[in-house]
Amino acid sequence: MAEMTVIEAVREALREEMERDPTVFAMGEDIGARGGVFLATEGLLEQFGPERVIDTPLAEAAIGGIALGAAVNGMRPVAEIEFGDFVWPAVNQIIGEAARVRYGTQGRRTAPLVLRVPYGGGVRGGLFHSQSIEVAFSHQPGLKVVAPATPYDAKGLLKSAIRDDDPVIFFEHKRTYRLVKGDVPDGDYTIPIGKADVKRTGSDLTVVSYGLVLHYCLEAAATLAEEGIDVEVIDLRTLRPLDTDTVLESVRKTSKAMVVHEDTKAGGIGGEIAAVIAEEAFEDLDAPVKRVAGPEVPAMPFSPLLEAEFMPSAEKIAVAMRELAGY
Amino acid sequence: MATIGIELPQVGESVTEAVIGKWLKQPGDAVEKFDALVEVVTDKVSMEFPAPHTGTLKAIVAAEGDTVPMGAIIAEMEVDSATAEAAAAASEVQANAPAPNRVGTLIQGANVGPTGGTFKDTALEEQLANRIPHASPASDSVPNTAQTSGRTYSPVVSRLAAANGIDLATVVGTGRGGRITKQDVQAAIAAWPSTTPAPAQPVTPAPQVTQDGPVGEDRILEPSPIRRMIADHMVKSVSEIPHAWSTVEVDMTGLVACRTAQRQLFRQRHCADLTFLAFTAHAVARALRDNPLVNSSWEDEKIRLKGRVNLGLAVAAPDGLVVPVIHDADREGISGLAQRIAPLVERARSGSLVLADVQGGTFTLNNTGTLGSVLGGAIINHPQAAIVTTEAIVKRPVVISSPGGDAIAIRCMMNICLSFDHRIIDGAEASAFMQSFKRELEAWTVDSELN
């Protein structure tokens, strides 16, 4: 067991998988000699050589398409998009094509690729280094979408993603890279895709979250515990397929539910979860399902007070929790 | 010569109403066709509306500042017969002009291919023609036991039931698997019955049931849904609530004199009739306020004392008895009550009560006296604690005691009859309430100021 940050957990998973399976290779801008702008791939070029750690040209559509072609032809590429905000040219290949390869060939070809995507804000990233873009992908059948919040989950889930026979979009909240430190077992272990994790059990209300703000939810829950309110916090970990069973079981227990995410509220995954709860647990609800989410502005501003206005915080979340608990 | 109405014309595509501005002609003025008649203001257009005909402006119907829908009559003009006829014909044509088709129609045979083109899918048509229809997924023929035996209620059903004192266990569910729907609860609320049907005032005779079959043979009447609900409600009340009764005589002479003296002035001042019902409602509301145990409900083995005095008044409506409610009746004076009762009774009689009119009652008052009854034993309006009837006011000789001795006088006497839930109320509380009620009624004299 070692204590490490999220970025270290990602790196360790990638290294171990590349050691274990010769078809696994990494590609992306700056991932080789630089070790990645966040150092996610530091040391890999030295260990595995340029054949398996490829510094690509500045061409996201090519990154997506080439990773797809290589995956179709027997390899397991782990392609990095340097910032989620730059993913859009690759969408043509990932959402448009990769998601449909298996279905469109009825299994004659498959695309076991992983696209690693740093996302999210709170790093003074401004409009183009802070975007939450998860739902574009989680909306697409044929893709799997994973968003771990802890080092333990990051390592186990990246291994599962690499071993998965379908395209997996692996979202890494860039603020958690160095901010979140936790215990990570040595050696090989996987965490199943499609399983949420109850990070804190409680009886008064259910909070569903993922990514950086999961940690704020846990902070808020700790505050509320002192006030005598017992909050259950669920970490989705996977955004597609959603682990609705875990969420519903919790809601049936507490009868009050809330979704918290950094992504904008309208059209965010909170709406999908609220709809599932309304469809499946209507008779168990004692209050409307609430959402705490990013505001309806196109992206996160650069200046610090404006950024803070955008970002959820433990305080904002605690206020919403109290309101729901008192309904 | 004839008088015709001048309509506000359609001034803009999406404009549906306009505000009348300054009238540029006055009644009596001669008007030439196209003369500026009035200013008309809409959010898109501010314009002078020209006179559509030559004649005399007879009357202004829409005043300056009025908001008027397109097509409404805003003025009257006197015109010659020929013009009047032409105008009538024109407005007929307008009325028949078809409304714009804003949905569009499906054009059969207008085919399109996958990327444009005019491909007509003959293979698909054949397939559809030959297709055996898919059996639709079997509906829940087996009722969901969680709903019928476990009885879970939706938020809206729970809310409505609680607000109206509806016991959901008594409501028949017509939803899937026998669940109670919002409509089921609303029907239960609307069908709140009371005791023997009796109109408030004036008297509406009971519907005649004519005998038109062969003499001596039985006839079956099919009860209406409302009748059935009333029947169920009565049975429930009688089977659940242990009824007990108490009757008290009230000397209404002073009240009668007061009413007679004040009636005309009251009508002039308030445009409402000063009815006996206003007085009795006023009195009973105060009695309830002072005797909270009578304004309660037996609920889940507990007694719920109601926080408000919401007085239900039994009224005969077209479909059966209804009990519209005067909320917070104890806070009103006579004039307030009279003014609230009149429109409520009117709505009840015309069958146009809304849900808010019948919700939340805590006690019921039934004026059975108007039909001549002098003694009654009403069935409690479940789940209330009690119901009281006011019987006929009858002039009778009674003994009046005074320091000088006893004497006989002719007084207007009225019985008030209480039926009460003996789980909640004993004879003592019942009597206390009735004495309060009586005191309130007997306090009125010919000199009383109406509040």
């Binding site: 390899m75 094509e97 469109g104 | 083109g117 899918d121």
Partner: protein, 329 residues
Amino acid sequence: MTDADLLEMYRTMVLSRTLDQRIWQMNRQGRAAIVASAQGHEAAQVGAVRALDAERDRFYIYYRELTTMLALGITPLELLLGFLAKDGEPLSGARQFPLHGAIDRDRRDIVSFSNVVATQLPQAVGVALADKMRGEKRVTMAYFGDGASSMGETHEAMNFASIHRLPIIFFCENNKYAISVPISKQMNIESVATRASAYGMPGIEVNGFDPVAVYEAVGAAANLALSGQGPTLVEAVVERFLPHTSDDDDTRYRPPEDLDGIRDLDPIPATEKILRASGALDDALDEEIKSSAQKIVNQATEDAENAPFPEPHDFYEQVYAPGSPGDQS
């Protein structure tokens, strides 16, 4: 290239033309929802396949490659099942437009994942990258048209392939129209092949009506690929005899004088002429080739019409790997 080789190519072209004419009929009858013709492209497609190895190499095609499919051994019946969207169609379970999906890998590596233009080019580059990583000696052939050569992904693909010296041929069939947009509005250069130099690789322009010329050009490119010298851009210049697809009406944009004389360039009678001149083809043989093509196409038509449509009972299969999270089948 022997006479026998040319004769075989001729036979394939005749079969392709016959099938091509049939699918247009079927569209006009309302049986085939969308068809794209290879008329005018037959020689280029057949010459290119001849220079490659159907078993060894990988073929990333686009929607106009009817002749290529036949040359690689996909039968007229299989293709018609695709055009009619019938059960048993060999590329996609009839979930895709005709010619889209993938042939079973152990039979042929023929792939067209979508009809989004030019997406196949980066994919083909990734395929070639994987072969190189594994040390497998194969050629990946990436087919596309003149319109696709404008897409950013085409340039990104060529760039990467050249940097990494990948074993791939970029094969452009330039028929001078991208639906209705003529070449003069598509690019400000005379030839697509000149783009190759911008990416540091050879570019060859060749007469697409001459199957032998195409065969030689693709053969040269294949040698470069197999010897580790990287990619080549081969441009086969042809004409599009028919509108873009059955949904298109080219009278709206194609000046009639444009079509004057292009039928004279038709490679099938031209090849027939060459073969007759060399003695490899006579009336009897030509009659046999043509009537046999017609018979095959007629039988295939009947069989395809009689085939059932796929039912929705496996609608949710192959969204995800069977048994994996998200699998609803």
